[in-house]
């Protein structure tokens, strides 16, 4: 049984049995839940299906969120990529398109898979579905990589938090980005150690990010932060796959994230009382939606 309180321990266990992280996690989770690996795999396959559907739904150019504040951005990004107008290349453009799409679906009260949360639900699917297209990665490998991502999320949840109300956006988009980075490294053939470095790098890049949603809605700035989160996951995975190591081990970065979250003012933890939520425009938008500022 794993306690999922240390990424270093998980990497050591994977190295010992000479297997990817996903395999040891799937085996252990099946044992812990007193079920079969096939049953868990099938359940995860369903999540991948919902993830794909949530991308499609979010590409609709006309769909607006219930508040009317957001909508249509994923379509704009998709068109830019299709017409070769985007400046960061096809993979980045596609990843951002998909991240915006899933996040948009969420804002419209559509069906998504929390990964690890709904506010950050665009990052992991966009990372995996984008790399799958560009490198012809099988659904099997994607589904397995979701187990690796889950393990990373569990370690973060156990040692810090995955709730914006407790740790700010770093806990949500940061965790999602670290999970996606590890998953990307694994499907691209990196070692468990590289997964660990990718997590550390992804999380380090997002430390301190506050949760300051305008009008308390999971829309502004959340949707665009999903695009930034997947870009960050690709940056971290790319660095780790090139053999670049994080000077600070992932487990220590997670503890740092926890301490930063504890030190953060409650006005910056999903209360809509600080940051972007209280800018003049943020307040105006809130009034537009609710008639008065909450």
């Amino acid at each position: 049984m794993f306690k999922y309180d240390s990424l270093a321990d998980l990497v050591a266990a994977a190295n010992q049995s000479n297997e990817p992280l996903s395999k040891i996690v799937l085996r252990e989770q099946a044992e812990a839940a007193e079920t079969t690996e096939d049953a868990l795999y099938a359940a995860m396959a369903k999540s991948l299906t919902v993830m794909r559907e949530s991308v499609q739904e979010g590409l609709d150019p006309d769909k607006r969120s219930a508040s009317g504040l957001t909508g249509g951005d994923a379509f704009k990004m998709m068109r830019a990529v299709e017409e070769n107008r985007n400046i960061c290349g096809k993979i980045f453009g596609t990843a951002m398109t998909k991240a915006l799409a899933v996040s948009q679906t969420n804002a419209c009260m559509g069906k998504i898979v929390a990964a690890p949360t709904a506010g950050s639900c665009g990052i992991l699917p966009s990372a995996l579905l984008t790399i799958a297209e560009s490198r012809n990665i099988s659904d099997h490998d994607l589904i397995m990589a979701l187990f690796t991502a889950s393990a990373v999320g569990m370690v973060i949840a156990n040692n810090a938090s995955i709730a914006g109300a407790q740790g700010g956006c770093q806990a949500e988009c940061g965790a999602a980005s670290a999970m996606a980075a590890a998953a990307l490294v694994e499907v691209c053939g990196g070692t468990p150690q590289m997964c660990e470095h990718a997590c550390a790098i992804a999380l380090k890049n997002i430390l301190g990010l506050v949760c300051d949603p305008v009008a308390g809605l999971v829309e502004i700035p959340c949707i665009k932060r999903n695009a930034a989160g997947v870009a960050n996951a690709f940056v971290a995975a790319e660095l780790a796959l090139a053999g670049i190591e994080s000077a600070i081990p992932a487990d220590e970065v997670i503890i740092a994230m926890k301490k930063i979250g504890d030190a953060m003012s409650s006005t910056l933890k999903e209360t809509a009382e600080g940051g972007l939520a209280v800018t003049p425009t943020g307040k105006k938008l809130c009034e537009k939606v609710f008639g008065c500022c909450q």
């Binding site: 812990a32 999540s47 898979v113 709904a118 889950s150 109300a165 999971v218 809509a272 909450q294």
Partner: protein, 220 residues
């Protein structure tokens, strides 16, 4: 103990795992604890829930859960309309519940016969929840496994009565807690068990005159 689907999951209607999906689950458990169709619901939101519930659809989500919907039910969007059709009278209040987790909802449900149940729960991230109060007693139910909730009279021997039934039926207990409102008053046992539990266990436990009710909260 977390498992993979606490992280990749739930499959849910947006926009917030803590403020929408978690809220649905607190509502679902409140419904289970009442045990009958509620006709009245009063919901007190505390902390972040109080400040942002309208924006996150937390109000729609709690009502959906009280009506028995799951986190991926597309009708969450229109749950308040459905509640009105069904004749559920609901009210919301912004409160400051002392010492409560930032995402806390306290739900008081009433059935047609006037029985009430008060359930306080916290949404702790990623759709995961903890129920921390039932009526006047403190509990800690995380929904990771099937849980028996047994309010009973605070008299000697009640733990033995219940655990003997479970032993006879071959049910393994892995978590147990007990709390009472006052000496000789109402106590609540919460028992977390491995695997599934069937209704014959419930019936056997209810045979004892000091046991008020026995609710099985299915694992989330």
């Amino acid at each position: 103990m977390l498992q993979v689907f606490d992280i990749i999951g739930p499959v849910m209607i947006g926009p917030s795992s803590s403020h929408t999906a978690g809220a649905v689950r607190i509502g679902m458990y409140a419904r289970s604890i009442l045990g009958k169709e509620p006709v009245k619901a009063h919901i007190r939101f505390s902390g972040s829930f109080a400040k942002t519930y309208k924006g996150h659809g937390t109000d729609k989500a709690v009502i959906a859960g009280i009506l028995g919907m799951d986190t991926d039910d597309a009708r969450i969007r229109i749950s308040m309309d459905i509640a009105k059709e069904k004749g559920l009278d609901f009210t919301f209040e912004e409160a400051d519940i002392d010492g409560a987790h930032p995402n806390t909802a306290e739900i008081t449900l009433t059935d047609a016969e006037g029985n009430t149940a008060l359930v306080q729960g916290a949404s702790i991230g990623g759709g995961n929840i903890i129920i921390n109060k039932i009526n006047n007693t403190v509990v800690e139910i995380n929904g990771k496994s099937d849980t028996l909730v047994i309010p009973h009279r605070d008299v000697p021997g009640m733990i033995a009565v219940v655990t003997n039934v479970l032993a006879d039926k071959g049910v393994n207990i892995h978590g147990f807690s007990l709390c009472r409102d006052h000496k000789g008053g109402t106590a609540v046992m919460t028992i977390e068990i491995d695997g599934d539990i069937n209704e014959s266990v419930q019936d056997a436990i209810l045979e004892n005159e000091h046991i008020f009710s026995c609710t099985i909260l299915k694992a989330i």
